[in-house]
Symmetry: D2
Subunit: 470 residues, 4 copies
């Protein structure tokens, strides 16, 4: 699946001599969640320090930058890319000064009522220097009448709808917060005497931190000199974890709510095999994300697993194409079929999902060209028929292939022999008990009322009066 952009990743550590450096490592482990911009803010009881820039973690941060990010506390952020709109001014953490001092915030998610709150704030004279929905929460904190940061934060969170996993950093305190639905992931760990927060457990693993537990939906955790305190100030809702974290976003070595992402994907593949195993010679994945589901399909169906595609890992941001365009050039830059594996075979090819359908079409074409006898496309997710308002940058409904066509029509358009999606029930069986996931993108039923008309176009960005240019 190439069409859905990654979203964001957050990381924070409290009370560590090398806070900025550890945060840099944590962000590096979360790099798959956002490659466009990244940033770190640190604090040393008196001040906040920050640096952010467009680029990968490893390019943006150097020894001398990290050494200037003083203090024992730090939060960081990696941000996804949306073509043409990736602006330095929207890079996170957002940092601002206000009455009580300074505050930095790193956010994974999407505030669905940001537009409404922003209108109110602007009516009262607030100015906005980014087009990010995240800026509203800083304004809310700044305009809160409460004395303590934790109270100001809680008051502000009560105003928000939508999806958020937040890390806040002040001079002396850190706050982690997760929306009552638990849309986006957030885990908590410990590294000797330091508290650690991260979007995924793979960030804990890299720094040898111990996983404590997931931050709970609706939970707000305050960390300061006296340790960590947990609050549940928000009305609890039905758990609605983003199922695409399980299907696609999270790294296979991460643990989500106690379950291994890798194993969940194996199970999705197995369920998919149960539902729709064709007569075939081999099962191949669309690498890298499709590998575990394809393995699961192989195990479930008994059909041999092969690595039918080679992936080129040196793909840069831009690529110069020859004038006389080479067939399927765009996909071939990243993926190339292994002819010996494909030729003359009945092939099951496993991918995670179909969004716009353009990549799937090219994959089917490439397999044909490589001599596949039959091509059975299997998707380890159900049909995506509705956009996400909770932090994933899916296209609008008109661009979602499955919103417009039936499974059969999709198969015809892609030119495959057969095309089958995992059923929602199959997905539920694969995920098993203990995880209640949000099915909005499959069912068009959203866990929380969305003011669809106004939010539709503004889901990831607020109004764009001023535009930064690069």
């Amino acid at each position: 699946m190439e069409e859905i952009k990654d979203e964001c990743g957050v990381f924070g550590i409290y009370n560590n001599e090398e806070a900025a450096k550890i945060t840099y490592l944590g962000l590096y482990a979360l790099q798959h969640r956002g490659q466009e911009s990244c940033g770190i803010a640190s604090s040393d009881s008196n001040n906040l320090y920050f640096h952010k820039s467009l680029g990968l973690v490893n390019d943006v941060f150097k020894e001398n930058t990290l050494s200037q990010l003083k203090g024992k506390n730090a939060i960081g952020h990696v941000r996804y890319s949306t073509a043409g709109e990736t602006l330095l001014k929207n890079a996170q953490p957002l940092v601002a000064d206000y009455y009580y001092g300074s505050i930095a915030v790193a956010h994974n998610g999407n505030i669905t009522n940001a537009r409404i709150i922003k209108d109110e704030l602007e009516e009262n004279g607030s100015i906005f220097s980014s087009t990010s929905d995240t800026e509203v929460v800083i304004h809310l904190i700044a305009s809160s009448a409460e004395d303590l940061l934790i109270d100001r934060a809680i008051n502000s969170l009560k105003r928000l709808k939508g999806a958020y996993s937040f890390l806040f950093l002040s001079e002396k305190e850190m706050i982690a917060a997760r929306d009552p639905f638990g849309f986006r992931p957030l885990v908590m760990g410990r590294l000797n005497g330091s508290f650690v927060f991260a979007s995924e457990t793979c960030a804990l693993d890299l720094i040898n931190a111990e996983y404590i537990r997931d931050v709970k939906p609706g939970e707000v955790i305050l960390v300061n000199g006296e340790g960590a305190k947990s609050f549940f100030p928000l009305r609890l809702e039905k758990n609605s974890n983003c199922v695409f974290e399980l299907i696609y976003f999270s790294r296979p070595d991460s643990i989500f709510n106690g379950k291994s992402i890798y194993s969940l994907r194996i199970r999705m593949g197995k369920e998919l095999a149960k539902e729709s195993t064709p007569e075939a010679d081999i099962v191949i994945p669309v690498p890298d994300s499709g590998v575990p589901a394809a393995l699961g399909f192989s195990k479930g169906s008994g059909i041999d697993f092969e690595m039918g595609f080679t992936r080129n890992h040196y793909v840069g941001r831009t690529f110069i194409e020859p004038k006389k365009s080479i067939r399927h050039f765009g996909v071939k830059v990243k993926l190339n079929p292994v002819p010996d594996v494909i030729r003359g075979k009945k092939v099951v090819v496993v991918d995670d999902s179909v969004v716009r359908g353009t990549t799937s079409k090219k994959i089917v074409d490439m397999l044909k060209l490589a001599g596949a006898k039959e091509i059975h496309l299997r998707l380890s997710s159900p049909m995506v028929i509705a956009p996400c308002f909770y932090g994933i940058d899916t296209p609008v409904k008109e661009d979602l292939m499955a919103a417009k066509y039936t499974e059969k029509e999709i198969n015809a358009q892609l030119g495959a022999t057969t095309t089958r999606f995992l059923s929602i029930d199959g997905l539920r069986r694969a995920v098993g008990n203990g995880i209640n996931f949000c099915e909005a993108c499959f069912s068009n039923v959203y866990p929380q009322e969305i003011n669809c008309e106004s939010e539709y176009e503004n889901q990831t960005q607020l109004k764009l009066f001023s535009k930064e240019v690069f």
Copy 2:
């Protein structure tokens, strides 16, 4: 004079097909007013576009950046450098979205009550994303109850104390404003059907614009589709133009209040000669800024003018020094005496001022080393005994040589044969009628009450809770 940093320069053009490109040229002509960062914001009736970065105008803006700065209106800014504190977040124009749309502001000057206003705003919940005093004016505009931009701007300006030459840009309008004292310069011109504003006339000259007149102290000019309208909504004060624009900052080919900067400096040199011509063989300038005054001194005294120093124009931002430091290395990187001119001569060396005294000391030492028989240091400004709160980054009082020592003591410390400053009366004679300048730095008497204690340390920056790191 090397110790006083340049300040800032602003430029704006309304209703021009190549607004961003013309602004780029205007900033280029004002580059001597600020070399650390620069930026341009443009508007096309619907949106604001902006780009700003650390660096020189010619490095920051390229053809493709300029082409993205759409629209027929633009304002720009060049900013000075203060070691360690030059931050991208403080680069101008500052741009923000608020209730009525977007606004950009470019500012030359220093708001002396910014701290107080900021405190009030923060108490009411405002957040600040820069440490620049300029941000307060955007907040004031945003929180104004008035309907029209011009009224919101005027309301806001009424709250400000201190020095400002402002250019505001909205989607459809441009506003130029100069504080009632006229501390910082601002001129108005016309380029065919376009209105132009600039800190100095040399920016008009480069683009072949016609000089109309100086924006008057306390004047607010609104430019929109209906043309330009002038307002005088502020209580007028006694004119207090910054005399250091005449002595040092402005380019010699600029016209200030109808008078040629070059000619004024020639007259300063002549007055200086009248007051204190020693018996000497030659007059030499400290280039480049000291050249006109030295020429004037030569004319006034009849002593031969020579270019006794060669200036190296390839000086970069940083310079690697040898370990075993070369004598006077820091100054020699920029200036080198011409031995043949100096050796065995009684030399009058003319510079603009003594601030910390460190550069003057090195100049005297270099002349001694080059074999000067006598060294008569002449300064084309009076003794600087007090810091500036109106936009020039002078050091605190303790670091001002003339605040601590008499002319005689200074001479002894510098090791010159004689050292003489232009008298305040001499300076007045040189400047002549028609320009009333601010003498605060010579007299310690400020035209407007300053809350000295609180402002002292915060003159150019607001409180520094959060620090951007590069």
Copy 3:
């Protein structure tokens, strides 16, 4: 296998309107063969044009650079990295002017008698501006008495010992040559009316060129306006293809001598399973290179295949480590175990080879830490006991783990449960008929006499009198 550096890749196209652009694409497909520097030289009958730089293909070449590389013929090169010694002056193609015009050369391999030839040339007054063994061949061509380029080239090749796949480009002609042993690969293809040469077929696939055949060992092919002519001027030797191309270097989707690399690796895994299948729960690869062999092992042994490691693909050139080093940090930056897969399991981990043994040790340690019950390390190559003088940058004998220790001792040092290498006979069975490979690194018996003493330290570089500094 992380310790053996990639070597080099070459690409050339003759008679194509977009020669430079196609070469850029070809190099991109060969990027896995060298990431340190790259270059392209083109010709338009009258002149040669070239550009080369340190960096990846996609960073070094931009639209405007490619458009300046005029002409319908081009050759390109990607070069491997050896720490501290990667110099711009050694980047290829090497380009020189000489009596007959200009010549560019791209080389994959190692000339084992370069030192001796260089000494002779220097005695006769030649100067060398690189430390690359490749420069000697240009000198030989320049000093040849023959009139035609093809004769000069052949004369020069007759002097060379060792490994080479060469592409030469003059204003009007291209020459491809492969040493008589066929150490390094070189294939020939066709793209409409253009001739194409490349180190691997995957480069042909990306540009939709048709594979014709491998350039034969000892073959010299001249391409010019009259088409392509084949020559066999060199004494033929026993085929000695580099077996590590099959085991590790070549991309799995490439075809070597008519055989699929992917399938060969599957067979190596199967043979390995035949020889040494332990009682175990799962088989996991060290990604990405170990994947096919691990799959083959799984097929051969019937033990379940799992992706037990996640690979981070955002690894940059340098990485800032925390002061208090994290355990196994160096490997964890690239590879992370999937705990759920490993914990409590008897694990077969398949890698391609053990060179220094440092990475293998870390992999075993990481699996232990992840809770593996038993760790059975299986290598799809025999024990590497001798250095390569034919183009692979293996360490000196003292640093080769298998040169000093038995299989048992290696197992003990690595701390695995069992460690087993594929036997040479097993490797031969896997490779099958039709490919005679060089076994020097396994047997210490070299196909061609090497002047070991003098060549040992100079295998990849000539004497280093002058050192370029970056």
Copy 4:
């Protein structure tokens, strides 16, 4: 004078703990002699180290680069720019390995028989990796049969015609050499126990080195562990110092053959005044190079000196022009008239020379536009009627204005009131005894026979078979 490009500068120091750093400073002081590329080679008895790049000294060299340039000996080079042809491969010092070790060479000048020697060398099989005439001398040294470097160098120099000031560096020795005509400058100094060589004395001044004497025409100086030895192995010729060093190239604070450049220029201005003082109000220079001559003219004529032009020192390499071109934009970017000084005045404007005449035309136009009543152009050099083959990049004869027109016709074309060049006799008087200068560019009589036809087009570059692309 803007049309003649600077040429080159060389610097060397032997036996200094900070050799590379001192060389960096020396090159910085010589930056006015070449802004396009620069390089340093150092040696530590065993090896040579080098770094070179396009760019200014201060951008190319950083602390960490300098620290890698080990050893107590170093030479450096700054190179001029010629549009489109400035190539990294031609950047100096050129460094090569040969039979006896390594050698680096830095060259200021032009070898007029380089083409002929290159042809011979190529016939004998030499290859060339640059298009610089300097490469031939390395080949000659490498192919010399002598045992000692000094003998090889002398043998090689005997083959050369034309202009050269050379610095050679081997592992243990340094050689300075100046052609028998003394076309290009080269001075020798001492810094404590270190020997120093430089193109101009201003480089000695910056590092506090003591000036010893000029290297004499035809002199070869060997510096090694035993000290410095002087040789005169070449047939001596009539001294023919480049007079344009005096008129234009050298920095005013440099001493040439014992005479101050500044004072020589003053005297040129005085002679010019003697020859052609019009009735006028003011004398103004074209800054910076015309300042001393204009001062001399003022002294000689008694007409008041004024700085009538302001120079913008922030000029970058490229400049974006507005579409509707501003009048005289190209010159205005660098120079702006001070209107108050010019308006209504009879102006003498002093420049160094007229080459193509394009800049002079713009200067006259700008003065007219600024309101000058009369414009008397005075040139402190005679008419340039013939190209230079000795190291200055003058245009071909057809592009030299004075080669095609009389003084009167030039005046008419430029549109000045009067235009007068200094006479050759006047120049001789100004220069005085003790300096015999080359007058080839004024007289078309060359001190050494030139094979005009073949050299004409190849004066600064050898044949361009291969072209590096940026």
